[in-house]
Every structure is written in C-alpha cells, then in structure tokens.
C-alpha cells in the first residue's frame, strides 16, 4: 500500500460540494424542526437538540459561511460532529444535503481553490476532485476555534 488514506464525508451547500473528516462524524439526522431555540444566541446557532439524552447546539453551516439561505427540503440534514472526541464538544451542523463517505489518498489532496475567506471560515484545508466533482475540504477544528473565539 502506497500513501495514507483519508476518509471524508461530503455534503452540498448551494450547489457546491464541501467535505470534512468523516472520523469526526457521530450521527446524521434529518432536519425536522426538532430544534429548541436558544434566546439571544448568535445568529448562526439555530438552537439545541436532544439526542439520546444529551443536549447539543446546532449551527447553520450556511450562516457560518455567509451563504444565502436555502429552503429547507427533505434533504436538509443535521450532521452531529465531535471534533475533540468529547461528548461536551459535540455539536450539529445543518447542511443542504449529505452526499457520501469516500476515501481519498492524501497525496491527491491539492491546495485549496478558494482564496477568499467565507464567513467564519478563514481558509480551506484543500481541495480534491472526486468523480469529476471539485470538493472543498473544511478543517473542523479550525472552524470550532473560530466559533468559540468569536463573541
């Protein structure tokens, strides 16, 4: 075997495809309006969700990245991620559509195509072409630190 593999999960946002490390994913749920609003929270926090007796905050990826609101469809999903592998740090991310989990050799990952920052995401981790589609890689740990530092 040559080179390392990375397992990614890809999702759609406004026609574009993004991905992050699938090892951080804990759960994928359909978005059914089961959120409880938290008053006075920052705009990209949609609310909190009860998942098996734990309460997790749910963020809206579209608002984080400053993308126009898409309508909520049957495809709209919540990805529950655990970037630090601790139950306290788990949170949900709302995306337009969850696509697939795929493996990619690390050497195939190229420098990011996007140079400008998008909302809270200062920079992208890289880009990869899979099945003829360009996928932008997001660094979740970076995102978390952005969310937490931004008051």
């Amino acid at each position: 075997m040559e080179g390392d593999f990375k397992t990614l999960i890809s999702f759609g946002l406004q026609g574009q495809t993004f991905a992050f490390d699938s090892l951080m994913v804990r759960n994928i749920l359909p978005y059914e309006g089961q959120l409880t609003r938290v008053p006075n929270a920052r705009n990209f926090i949609l609310g909190v969700i009860n998942l098996h007796g734990n309460i997790f905050p749910v963020t809206d990826m579209r608002k984080i990245m400053g993308i126009d609101q898409q309508e909520i469809t049957v495809d709209t999903s919540i990805i529950i991620v655990s970037p630090e592998d601790k139950i306290e740090s788990q949170f949900g991310i709302v995306v337009d559509l969850v696509k697939e989990v795929f493996e990619v050799e690390t050497e195939r990952i190229e420098p990011p195509v996007f140079q400008r920052k998008m909302g809270l995401i200062e920079s992208f981790q890289g880009a990869v072409t899979e099945k003829g589609e360009l996928i932008h890689l997001i660094d979740l740990l970076h995102l978390v630190s952005q969310i937490e530092s931004k008051k």
Partner: protein, 680 residues
C-alpha cells in the same frame, strides 16, 4: 503490574503527606501533644516502608532520618522547636516532590536533598548531651499516652416511650431506633405490656415502648439529637450506666434473658451492678482495636470518574423516569402509573444517595489554606490567626474543584493586602495579631462561605475614583456603598498597577466572581475601612439537579429554579397598566419587573400572564411570564461551549416528552437587566 501498585502507593503516599501536613499544623499550635507526634511518626513510618518496597529509595532513606527525629521527640529525647517544625515543612514538600518524580537524578537536586537530610540529622546529633536530663520526664509522659489512647466509649440506657398519638404525626419510631443503632452497638428491648387486646386496639395509636442499651463513643448530646423532633411526643430518659462496653458481658446477657421473659424490668441500677473486675482497661483497649478495624473498611476508595459516571447515569434515570410518568399519565394505565410511582420513589432515593456520594468535605482544601496562611504570613512577617469554622461542610466534588482557586486567591488577598503589619496594627489600636476567619455553613439549599478579616478594609472613595478613572462608571452618579464595593467585581477594574495603591482586597475579584458564577454561585463583599472585609460566597449544594418551576414565554418553555422564587402572582390587566419605568405597584408593594418577552425577543400573546417574584440579594424582582406549567425536578445540562456567552441561560434540561427547556439563571438575569444603574 508493579506500576499499578506504585501508582496506588503514590496516591496513598500523598494522603499520608496530607495527613502529615495537617498534623504538623496542629503540632505547631501545641508542640507537646503526644497524640499528634504519634500520628506524625506513624505517617512517616508508612511512607518510609512503602517507599522502600516500591523503589522510592531516596524517599525511603530521607524519610528515615526524619522519622528518627520524631522518634526522639516521641521518646522525649528531643523537644519540638520552631526550627524542627520549619524544617519538617520543607521536608514534607520534599517528600511530596519525591513521590511525584521517584528518585532524584538531577545533580543539584541531589545536593539539595543531601543538605536537607544533613540539617535533619543535625537535630538528632546535637541533642545527645542533654537527653539524660529528660529521661525522668520520659516515663511520666508514656503514662499520659496510654491514658489518652483509651477510647471513651460509654454505655447508656435509653428508655423511650412514645405517646400513643405519635404515629399520627407521621413519625415512625422504628426509624428512630435505627438511628440510635447507627451510633454504636445497641441492644433493643421492647415492652408491650401496655398493648391492649386486639379488639380494643386502635391501629393508629402506639402502645409499645422500648429500652435500648447503647454502647457508643458519641456524647450524650448526639443521642438526644436523634429524638429531637419527637421530644414533646414521648417520654425519654437517657442514663449513663457504664464506662466501657457492657453488651458483651456475660452478666448482661443473663439480665437481658430475665427481662425478655418478663421476670424483671430493665433498670439502670440493674445494669450498673455489672463490672468487668480487674481487667477493665485491657478489654476496653481491645475494643478500641476492633473499632479501628471497623473504621478501616467502612470507607472505600473509588476513582472519581466512576462517581461522575454514576451521577450521570442517575441523572439520565431521572429524565427517563419523567418520560415514563408522562406516558403512564397520558395513557391512563393504572398499573403503569403504580409502577411509575414506585420507580419514582426509588429514583429519588438513588439520586439522593448518588449525590451524597459525590459530596466531599471542604476539610481537605482547608489544609492547603492553612498552610498557605502560615507560609505567607511568615514570609511577610505578619502575625495571623487563621480560624476555620464549619470545615466539615460537604459540597459537590465539581463545585469544590471550581472553588479551590478562587478561595486560595481570596485568602491570599487577605494575608497579602488585607492584614496590616503588626506595627501598623498597634498604631491603629488593634491586636497586633490579625485574624482571618473562614466560616462555612448551610442555609437552605445553599452553602454559605464567609472569609472575614480584620484588616484595613477597603475605602469606597478610592474604589469609586479608580472606577471613574477606568471609565467603568460615570462621574457624579450617586452610588450606595454596596454598589461601589460591587465595582471591584467588574472586569478590568483591577490590574497590576492598581494593586499597590488600592487599599485592602479586591484584587482580581472579577476573576473570582466569574469563577464562582460558573458554578452558579454568588459573591458579595462588605468592608469597613480599618475594621476589615467580609467576602461572602453563596453556593448551590449540587450542580446538576435542581427543583424548578416550568413556565412558558411565548412558544418557549423555561425553568426557573425554585430556590430563587418567593411567590407567583397572576398579572391582571389593570396591574399591567400600572407598570411604569420598569416598576410595578401591586397592592402596597412596589418592585421592579423584567418582562421575559423583551429579554427573549418574543411577542406578547393574549394569554394571561403571571409574575414570578424572585429574590435577588436583599431585593425583590418580578419576572413576567405567560403560563405557569408546574413544578419539575430537572437535570441541568450544559449548553456546550458554543453558547457559553449566553448570560441569562445557565443550561437546558430535557423534559419528559423529549423537548428541551432552557434553565434561567435568575441571578445573572437580574444582574444583567435589573441593575441599569451600573450596567449602562
């Protein structure tokens, strides 16, 4: 495998060190106390032995020298001096270090260790000459020792005759008997001579009385306390009958046999007639050994993560139980309701139990504080008495973890900035020895901790000027003294350059305030110039479960902690109109109200609204909500770090139907929205 044992030894070793430190502080107060010296010697001995066994060779040989010193002290060959105590404290630090790192390898550390060892050895060799003189006193002391180790266990005869109506108040006398039995070894004899024939018997009356022979080390007061709530509903007579244990005496058994057969009445005189004869001392010290042994297995060491898990699981159970109850109620299944109620009872007991387990006494921390005050005051040449009241108060482990740093900081403030130098104190006409009092006590479902010093206090004017300079308040505002003192809690109030000219404490108080706030506690400060400062902490007993009132505001459901609520008042339309500039007039009472619709950016509906009156410090505030749904016991879960900047919401809790309700932190709510004067 050996690593596992080593880890265990280190853990136990640290306990020993802890014990050693505690004993040293006591010894400093009374250098002649034989029992304490014995305790120190034993702790050192354990460390030495264990150290050698698990490869802590430096530790073992170092402790050996230390032990020798205390062996001499123990045998009266050496008197405890200030020097010995100081060196021992240093040695204890060294032991702690050795426990952490194992054997030292670093050359300079080795030298340091050797020097310290040399100094300790010095105590023993330098006193060789005058030890003869002390030999006389020696034997006498040994006698004292043997007397003091004898445990003061006593036997009491308790005659407990409840009045016939005791059951009507819901008292179960059998529980009282259980409580008595928990105090020591007890023999219970019941007396049924007053019980009438079955057809005359009223099952709601109590006719039985009991005679209890109790052997205990507790004092008489403890026994009386058991019956404290039924004092007026029974005839109670407690007599001390025997010094030592009577229960295992053969004669005692004979007497009891007679009494059981109804031939004799158990009286104090009868029992007082028993004696052990000549070997009384021997048997009672034997008894002590037994007691000690029992004491040893009465507690076990459990990893704290396991306890956390237990508490978590119990919390989960409480939530699930609520779901079960809801299901049973909505489906109206009587059988199910019964079951759910039984489970509820069990859950409640389990919950109380689990929380009791997770409580630990403040004591352990207090040792550190005592040491800190001692070291710091020596360093600063100040004389300070550190007085602890209520060290046995127990608090949630998680709370104590969050508490240590702020407390440490505040006590350091006291010693460092609060208490003046002795000369200065004399000039002010105060006792040159300053005092810092640490006081902890329960109040309702809270624990109150006060740190009181009689130092220089804080000057409100200095604080106000500083705050104006810092731009925290506008000039010309008429602030009360309390409001001025509260300014020290605002962030950015104290920086390094202020420390020197700011009188008294208040340094870093914003950090303290924040830390205490994290565990849902409150800090307040009171100070009189030249008289001293009192910092008061109000802490919750536990973090994760609260009794709350569920209310609705627009479409959301919120929980308000019951402990804060004074009363609930329906809000009439007329009264609503009387709200002017945030203050409502209800009857004769005026108080400020906060409309939660405004806070949560919700629109008022047509629903009838209610005012929840809550207390905040010494004032009352009203919170306007829509519906009051009911009282719930809820598990408060954190919202996660992402929503941490949330001021008003302290957490969320899952309701029986799986929905989430936000838990309102009334203190912070009022602080943020009620005190408009300071928070512009």
């Amino acid at each position: 495998m050996i690593d596992k044992f080593r880890a265990k030894f280190v853990e136990e070793g640290l306990d020993n060190v802890h014990d050693l430190e505690e004993a040293m502080l006591l010894l400093e107060k009374d250098p002649t106390d034989k029992e304490i010296i014995e305790r120190i010697f034993r702790a050192m001995h354990t460390l030495k032995g264990g150290g050698a066994m698990f490869g802590f060779n430096d530790l073992s040989s170092f402790t050996h020298h230390l032990e020798t010193v205390y062996d001499w002290v123990r045998n009266g060959k050496l008197n405890v001096t200030e020097d010995i105590i100081s060196e021992t404290f240093k040695a204890i630090d060294q032991i702690k270090y050795l426990l952490e790192v194992g054997d030292v390898s670093d050359e300079s550390e080795k030298q340091e260790l050797a020097q310290l060892t040399q100094r300790i050895k010095g105590f023993v060799s330098s006193t060789n000459e005058d030890n003869e003189a002390k030999k006389g006193a020696d034997s006498k002391r040994e006698e004292d020792l043997s007397a003091s180790t004898m445990e003061a266990s006593k036997t009491y005869l308790i005659h407990f005759k409840p009045h016939t109506n005791i059951l009507q108040n819901g008292t179960n006398p059998l529980y009282l008997l259980d409580d008595v039995q928990a105090l020591g070894k007890a023999f219970v004899l019941y007396n049924d001579e007053n019980v009438p024939e079955l057809n005359e018997l009223n099952p709601e009356d109590c006719f039985v009385s009991w005679d209890i022979v109790l052997n205990t080390t507790e004092v008489l007061n403890e026994i009386q306390d058991v019956f404290i709530f039924v004092e007026d509903e029974c005839d109670l007579n407690i007599v001390e009958i025997f010094n030592g244990d009577i229960l295992s005496h053969p004669k005692f058994e004979q007497i009891i046999e007679q009494c059981e057969l109804g031939k004799q009445k158990l009286t104090a005189e009868l029992l007082k007639g028993i004696s052990w004869g000549g070997d009384e001392n021997a048997s009672s010290s034997e008894k002590k050994k037994v007691l000690l042994k029992e004491h040893k297995i009465s507690s076990i060491r459990v990893a704290s993560t396991k306890i956390d898990e237990l508490v978590n699981l119990v919390s989960e159970l409480v939530t699930i139980q609520a779901q079960l109850h809801l299901y049973a109620e909505t489906n109206r299944e009587p059988k199910m309701l019964d079951l759910s109620e039984s489970i509820e009872k069990l859950t409640r007991q389990l919950r109380d139990n689990a929380f009791e387990i997770s409580l630990i006494p403040l004591q352990n921390d207090l040792m550190r504080f005592q040491r800190l005050v001692r070291d710091l005051s020596k360093e600063l040449n100040k004389e300070i008495d550190f007085i602890i009241e209520g060290g046995d108060i127990e608090l949630d482990k998680n709370i104590i973890e969050h508490l240590t740093d702020p407390l440490l900081h505040m006590i350091r403030n006291c010693v460092d900035h609060g208490i003046e130098m002795p000369e200065e104190r004399i000039k002010k006409g105060k006792n040159p020895k300053g005092s810092v009092i640490f006081k902890a006590y329960y109040e309702g479902s809270n624990v109150i901790i006060k740190i009181i010093d009689d130092g220089m206090g804080m000057d409100p004017e200095v604080i106000l000027n500083k705050a104006i300079k810092k731009g925290l308040v506008e000039e010309g505002l008429d602030l009360s003294k309390k409001e001025i003192l509260d300014l020290v809690f605002s962030s950015g109030f104290t920086t390094k350059d202020v420390v020197t000219d700011l009188s008294g404490r208040g340094v870093g108080m914003d950090v303290v305030n924040r830390k205490i706030g994290e565990i849902r506690g409150e800090v307040s400060i009171d100070s009189d110039l030249d008289k001293g400062t009192t910092v008061t902490l109000v802490l919750p007993l536990t973090l994760s479960i609260i009794d709350g009132l569920l209310v609705s505001v627009a479409s959301g459901q919120y929980v308000i902690p019951i402990s804060a609520i004074e009363k609930i008042i329906p809000l009439e339309d007329n009264d609503r109109k009387s709200i002017f500039n945030g203050v409502i007039k209800l009857g004769e009472e005026h108080f400020p109200v906060i409309d939660l619709h405004d806070i949560f950016n919700e629109v008022c509906g047509d629903e009838k609204q209610h005012i929840i009156q809550v207390k905040f410090e010494d004032k009352r505030y009203g919170l306007i909500v829509d519906r009051v749904i009911g009282e719930y016991q809820t598990v408060v879960k954190p919202l996660g770090r992402m929503i941490k900047d949330q001021e008003v919401i302290s957490g969320a809790s899952i309701m029986g139907d799986g929905t989430i309700s936000m838990v309102i932190d009334t203190n912070r709510l009022i602080h943020a929205f009620g005190n408009q004067k300071i928070h512009k």
